[in-house]
Symmetry: C3
Subunit: 444 residues, 3 copies
C-alpha cells in the first residue's frame, strides 16, 4: 500500500468515524496506526491482528450462545399473583391456573320463620383457562362445594380468528341480566338482587359476541344444562340475545345501556318450570317467594332492560327483568322485578368496565404492604312479583346496605345488612326478617 | 530475559498461534511487543499490563455471575401448549398439569324406542402427572362429570429403574382390548365399538410392562375398583396379561398384532356380573344389548385378539373379544364380539404408534394459524353376541361412519353416523335406530 | 499539561493502581502513554480514543439489556419436585400446586366378625396454596375420594402481618390432639391411634397462633363443619386452645409438651353426638367401639395432654385425651383414652419438628438415584374407653408394629401389623382381629 492510498484510506476512515465511530475496532485501528507509524513491524502487526480477530470471533460465539440461553430462559413468561400464569413469548399460548374461595357467616333476625344462623363455604373453585395456537381459547372450572356435574361451571372453547367476533362452544353462561354476567367475584353485594329468580345460569350451547367501538351484540343457541344422559325426552333449548352500548365514555366514566332476551322451550317430557329466589342471603336456604312448579308450562321468555353508570368513585346499576310463560291450554303468565343500586368508593377507585360488564375494584394501596386497601359503601333496593293469576308465588321488597373492603386486588371482605321490607302472598306471606351477613373472598 | 530467549519464546508463540491463535491476549501481546521494541518503558508496560489483568479478572467474574444467573433462569424449562409442563434441566423431575374436555350432541332416529336428543359433557378432566427423582413417575386424574371416587381415573405411581421394565402400582387400566388402551382423546370414533361390553376399565393393582425391540409384554394383578370401604366381603381379584408385536415396521408404517387375557375372580359376596353396551352412543343412555345380572357367577375370563396396521395416511384396526363365565353349579357361559375399522387421513398424516398403542393425529397445518388442520374419514363394522343358554342379552350389529377434523394438535371436532343394523333377542329386540352425533374436544 | 503535572498525575495514578488497578481502562492508558511518548500523533490518539469510548458505551448498553433480560427471566423462580412452585423474586408472592395419593391394601384375620380384605384409595388430593402481597396466605385443597363439600379439606386465608402471630380464617383443623395436627402424610402409622375417636377435624372458624422462642399458643373460635345451607337450626360452635413448649432443644433433639382443650356447644336442633373409632385400620370400615348417638347431649369438652421427644434416630410420642359430655337433664359422661408410640430410624435420620408439630423424615439417600431411602421401625400401644354409665360403647386395647420405607422425600411405603388385644363391652365385645395392612403414598 503506497502512502497516497494510505492517506486516502485514513481520511476516509476518519470521515466515517467522525459521524459514526466504529465501536469495537479501536485496537485494530491502533494496530494499523502503529504499523503505519513504523512502531511495530508487519510481522508483529499481523500477529496481534490475528489474535484480535480470534478474540472477536470467540466473543461473537459467546454472545450467540448467551442469546440462545436467554431466549430459552424467556421463551415463556411465568407470573404469580395467587394464580399462576404461563405465557409463551410469541403470544400464541397462555394458560392460567386460577381459583376462588368465598366463605360466609349469617345471622337471621327471626320474624315468624326460624332460619339457622351459621357459616358456609359459598364457592370454592379451581379453574384452568387460556389460549392455544393464537386464536383458540379454553376454560374448565369446577366448584368443589358441589358434586359431579353440578360443580362444573365454565367449560368451553372459544375461537377468536374473526375480526371483532368471538365464538363460544360449550357450557357457558346465558348472556342475560347484567348482574348475572358480572362475576360473583365482582358483584358489589354478597348475593345478587331478587331478580336472580329469572337467572338462567349456564347451558350447553354455541354463540358469538361482536364487539363494536361502543357497543356489543351477543347471540347464542343453547340446549339444556350439562348432564350425563338425556333420558328418553328431547332436551329443551333456548335462544339468547343481548345488545349493549356505552353512549357516553370518557376515561373511566361511562353510561351503559342494554337489552336482552332469552327464549326457552322446555324439555318435551319433564319440563318442570318454577321461579323462586332466596332473600339475597344464601346460607339460610329459605326462599320467601316461590312459584313452585308451574304445570303445563311449554316455553318462557325472559326480557331484561339494564342501565349503569360510573362517575369517578360513584357508580350505579339498575335492571328491570320480566318473565312471560306460555302454558299449554291455560292462560299465559307474567312475572317481573327490578332493582337499583348505588356504590361509592371512599378511597376513590373507579369501578372497572370491560366489553359489556363490570369488574372488581383494584385498590390503589394494599393492606399488608403499608396501605389501607379500598373501601366501598353500597345500597340497593330490589323488588319482585311472582304472583300472577292462579300462581301465587308472592311479592317481595328488599332494602340492603353493605360495606366492602378490598384489602388487596385478590382479597375482599364484605358485610351486608338486608331488610326484607315486605313479603306479600305465597307460603311465607308476612315473613320479613332482617339479615346480617359477612363474607371473605380470595379470587385470582 | 536475554535476546536469545526472547527470540525462542517469540518463535514458539508464533508457532502456537499459527495453529491456534490465542483469543483475548491481543492487547497483552501488543504491550509485550511495544515493550520489546522500546516504544514503552518497563514501568509503562507493567502499569498497562496490571490494568489488563484486572480487567480480565473482573470480566471472568462477570461471566461467572452471568452464568450463575443463566443457570438459575434455565434450571427448569416451562412449556405451555394448553397444559403447563415444568421440567428440571437435569431431567430428574418433570410435572405436567393437563386437561381434557369433550362435549357431545346427539340426535336419535326413532325406531320403536324413544331416546332423548340433546347435549352432554362426556368428559371434563384435570390431571397432574410427572417424574420424580429420575426413576419414579406419578399420575392423578379426576373427571369432574362424576362424583367422588367414581371420578378418579388414573391414580398411580410408576418405577422405571429397571432396564426396559416399567412397574405400575395403583389405580390403572387393565391392559386388555386395544380400543380401551387407546385414550378416548385418540380413538377415531366418538365411542368405542360394541366389544367395549367386555372392557374392564381400571382396578387397584400392581403390574409391569416390558418393552422389547419390536414387542411388549405386560402382566398385572388387580384387586377391585377403587372404593373407600371393603364392606364385609373380600374383594374380587384379577390377573391380566397382554403380548404385542410389530412384525413389520418401517418409519410410520407398521403391522401390530396382540393377544390379551383377563381372568377375574368375583367378590365373595356381592359379585354381581353383567355385560352390556350402549349402541356406540353415550348420550341416550339406552343399552340395546344387556345380559342383566348373571346370578351364581364365580369368575370370568376375557380373551382378546387384536391386529392393526398403518400404511401412510391409511390405517386399520380389528379385534375379536370373548368372555367365558364360570358359574357355581350351573353350566358355563360364552359371549363374544368383534369389530373392524378403517381410517384415511385426507391431509396425509400418519396415525402415530408408541410402545403398544395408538395416539392422535398431529395435524401438519393448524387452523387459526393459516392452515386447514387435518381431516380424517373413518368407517367401522362391529358386532356382539350377549346371548348364551339361559342368558338372552341379545345380538347387535352396527355400521358407523365418521369425519374427524383435527383443527390443532389439541382441538378436535368429530361427527359420527351410527346405523344399528340389527338387534336380535333381549329386551330391545328389533330396536334399530340410527344415530347422528357430534363432539368437540380439547385435550392436552 | 506541563511535564511536572504529568509526572504528578502519573505517580498518583500508579499509587492508586498499585492498590486498586482500574479495570477496563488499559487500552485508554496505553493510548495515553503512546501519545505522551510521541509514538502516535494527537490526531491518532483522539481517533482511537473515540472508538474506545464508543465501544465502552455500546458495551454498557449491551450489559443493561442483558441485565434486563436476565431480570425478566429470573423475576419468578419455578421449582418442580413432584409439585410445582412459583415464587416471585421479591418474595411477595408464591403459589404451590401440590398433591397426595395414598393407597391401601388390608387383610383382616377373622375373629368372630368378618371384614372384607381388599384395596382402597385412602386419599387423593390436589391443593393450591401460597402467599400474596407479602403478608396474606391462602390454601384450597380437595380430596377426590369424597363428593362435594365432604371432599374439601383446608380452605382458608391467613394473615401474617403481625409480629410472631399468624391469623387464620376459613375451614381449618381444630388445634387439638398432636396426632391429628401431624399431617397424614407424616404420621408414622397408616392410621392414627384409637384416641382419634375424639378428633374434631376441621370447622369453619377464625383463630390465631403465636410462636414464641420455645413455645406456641393457639386460640380459635369455630362454627360448624362446612356445609351449603344452615337449615332451620343455628349452628353449633366451639372454642379451641392449645399451648405447647419445647423445654429442651439442641439441634434436632428435643422434648415437646403440650396441653389442649376443645369446648363445643352442639347445634340447637339436630345436635347428634357420638364417639367411635375404627381399629386403626380404615379399609374394613368396622368400628369395634362406638357410643352410638348420645341423646340429649348439649355440649362436650375434649382435653388433651401430649408429650414427645426426639433423640437422634429415636423418637417417641404419647397423648392422653378425655371427653366430657354435658347432657340436658341427665348425668354427665366421661370417656378417655391414651397411646404411646416409639420409632427408630435404621438409616439414622431425625424426625423433623417445626413450630409445634412433626414432619416426615427426609431420607439422606434416595432409592432410584443409587441410594437406599430411609427405613423406620415403629411400635404403638393404644387404648380407649367409650363406656360410661348408660352408654356402653366398649373398651379397646391395640398393639401395633410397623415398617416404613421412605424411598424418596416424596414417596413412602408402609406396612402395619395391628393386634386388637381386647374389646370389652359394646356391640363387638370380644371381636379381636389382627390386621395386616400396607400403604404406598406420594405427597408433595
Amino acid at each position: 500500500m503506497n502512502t497516497y492510498l494510505k492517506a486516502l484510506l485514513l481520511s476516509t476512515t476518519l470521515l466515517l468515524t467522525s459521524t459514526a465511530v466504529l465501536a469495537g475496532s479501536e485496537l485494530t485501528t491502533l494496530l494499523m496506526l502503529l504499523h503505519e507509524n513504523g512502531t511495530i513491524t508487519t510481522e508483529q502487526y499481523e500477529r496481534v491482528l490475528a489474535e484480535a480477530n480470534a478474540t472477536e470471533k470467540e466473543s461473537k460465539l459467546e454472545k450467540q450462545e448467551l442469546q440462545a440461553a436467554l431466549d430459552k430462559a424467556t421463551a415463556v413468561e411465568v407470573t404469580v399473583k395467587g394464580g399462576i400464569k404461563v405465557a409463551s413469548k410469541d403470544g400464541s399460548f397462555s394458560t392460567k391456573l386460577g381459583g376462588r374461595l368465598q366463605m360466609d357467616a349469617a345471622y337471621y333476625g327471626e320474624d315468624g320463620k326460624q332460619q339457622g344462623d351459621g357459616t358456609d363455604i359459598r364457592r370454592a373453585r379451581l379453574s384452568l383457562s387460556g389460549k392455544m395456537y393464537d386464536n383458540w381459547g379454553f376454560k374448565l372450572e369446577n366448584d368443589f362445594t358441589k358434586s359431579g356435574l353440578a360443580g362444573l361451571t365454565d367449560a368451553y372453547i372459544t375461537y377468536g380468528g374473526l375480526a371483532r367476533h368471538k365464538l363460544y362452544l360449550g357450557h357457558f353462561r346465558d348472556a342475560i341480566i347484567l348482574q348475572e354476567l358480572n362475576s360473583d367475584n365482582d358483584t358489589q353485594f354478597m348475593e345478587r338482587s331478587l331478580v336472580s329468580a329469572f337467572a338462567q345460569s349456564r347451558h350447553m350451547g354455541f354463540g358469538g359476541m361482536y364487539t363494536g367501538n361502543n357497543w356489543t351484540g351477543a347471540l347464542s343457541v343453547f340446549g339444556d344444562k350439562a348432564k350425563v344422559n338425556a333420558g328418553t325426552d328431547d332436551e329443551g333449548w333456548g335462544v339468547v340475545a343481548r345488545l349493549t352500548t356505552t353512549p357516553y365514555r370518557v376515561d373511566n366514566d361511562l353510561v351503559h345501556v342494554g337489552i336482552a332476551s332469552d327464549y326457552r322451550k322446555l324439555n318435551t317430557g319433564t319440563g318442570a318450570l318454577s321461579f323462586s329466589t332466596s332473600p339475597e342471603s344464601h346460607l339460610g336456604g329459605l326462599k320467601l317467594v316461590d312459584t313452585s312448579e308451574i304445570t303445563k308450562a311449554d316455553s318462557f321468555q325472559i326480557s331484561g332492560l339494564e342501565a349503569a353508570f360510573v362517575k369517578g368513585a360513584l357508580n350505579g346499576q339498575a335492571e328491570y327483568v320480566r318473565a312471560d310463560v306460555e302454558r299449554n291450554g291455560i292462560s299465559d303468565l307474567g312475572f317481573d322485578g327490578w332493582y337499583g343500586q348505588m356504590a361509592y368508593v371512599l378511597t376513590g377507585e373507579s369501578r372497572p368496565y370491560k366489553d359489556n360488564k363490570f369488574g372488581r375494584i383494584k385498590p390503589k394501596s394494599i393492606f399488608g404492604q403499608g396501605g389501607t386497601g379500598a373501601w366501598e359503601l353500597v345500597a340497593r333496593y330490589s323488588t319482585i312479583d311472582l304472583t300472577d293469576k292462579d300462581i301465587v308465588g308472592g311479592e317481595q321488597d328488599n332494602f340492603s346496605l353493605g360495606v366492602n373492603w378490598y384489602a388487596t386486588p385478590t382479597i375482599r371482605f364484605m358485610a351486608n345488612y338486608v331488610k326484607v321490607l315486605n313479603v306479600d302472598g305465597g307460603e311465607h306471606d308476612g315473613v320479613e326478617p332482617d339479615i346480617f351477613q359477612t363474607r371473605f373472598q380470595w379470587a385470582f
